[in-house]
């Protein structure tokens, strides 16, 4: 699965994109998996309320299933306009 990071999430994790092999069932399961992996992930994902997630480029919830999903992105609330 392609995992993308934007804005300060990208800065904290240190890469804009990575390929992750996971059997996580939901977004939240993937977050837990990443948190346990390394300190930089634990830091980036320390406060989920400060994060948004897009699943296959659609804004989604953290309980969204990852079945059949190709791309997931984590980022802070958007500041367009």
């Amino acid at each position: 699965m392609n995992v993308l990071y934007f804005a300060w999430v990208r800065e904290r994790i240190g890469v804009p994109k990575e390929q992750i092999d996971t059997s996580a069932a939901t977004v939240m399961d993937l977050v837990e998996e990443l948190r346990a992996r390394e300190e930089r992930y634990a830091l980036a994902f320390s406060d989920i309320s400060a994060l948004r997630v897009a699943v296959d480029q659609d804004l989604s919830d953290f309980d969204t299933s990852l079945e059949g999903v190709c791309e997931i992105a984590f980022f802070p609330p958007m500041t367009g306009g």
């Binding site: 934007f6 804005a7 300060w8 897009a54 958007m78 500041t79 367009g80 306009g81």
Partner: protein, 147 residues
């Protein structure tokens, strides 16, 4: 519907003229132009990051929602990314309709959703400091007007 996401600068006046001339049988065109502001007079640069692919999808959805909700002839959205300076034009929207109310309301709707539902992130450089711009609760609250 015309949606452009680009790093290049654009002429908002010329875009508005082209948009206006292209309409037929529309009685109203409303536009909004967003400009990099420097309220504290210390801003050196604003960097706008976006999510290629999702950005275009999100903007198309927001514009389509507006087309479905109001009686519009056309919608234009242009949004820049990359490094911008104070007073640079960041983005614009324009709407065309037979009567002004549709065009005004649709432009307002587009801006409310562009603020917090299109994947753009702003980072401000003031001197040596760099900070991501925080989203505002009022921007999130603004969406409830359209429920």
């Amino acid at each position: 519907m015309k949606i452009l996401v680009q790093d290049a600068a654009f002429d908002a006046g010329a875009e508005l003229n082209d948009f206006t001339i292209a309409q037929s049988n529309m009685g109203a065109v409303v536009s909004f132009t967003g400009i990099v502001r420097d309220l504290d007079a210390g801003l050196k640069q604003m960097d706008i990051e976006h999510y290629p692919g999702m950005t275009e999808r999100a903007l198309e959805k927001i514009a389509s929602d507006a087309m479905g909700r109001w009686n519009l002839g056309d919608v234009l959205v242009i949004h820049r990314f990359g490094a911008l300076k104070p007073e640079d034009v960041i983005m614009m929207v324009a709407t065309a309709s037979k009567h002004r109310k549709d065009a005004f309301e649709a432009a307002d709707f587009l801006m409310d959703f562009l603020k917090s539902r299109a994947p753009f992130w702003k980072k401000e450089q003031t001197g040596a400091a760099q900070d991501w711009v925080n989203s505002k609760q009022e921007d999130e609250d603004a969406l409830t007007r359209w429920e």
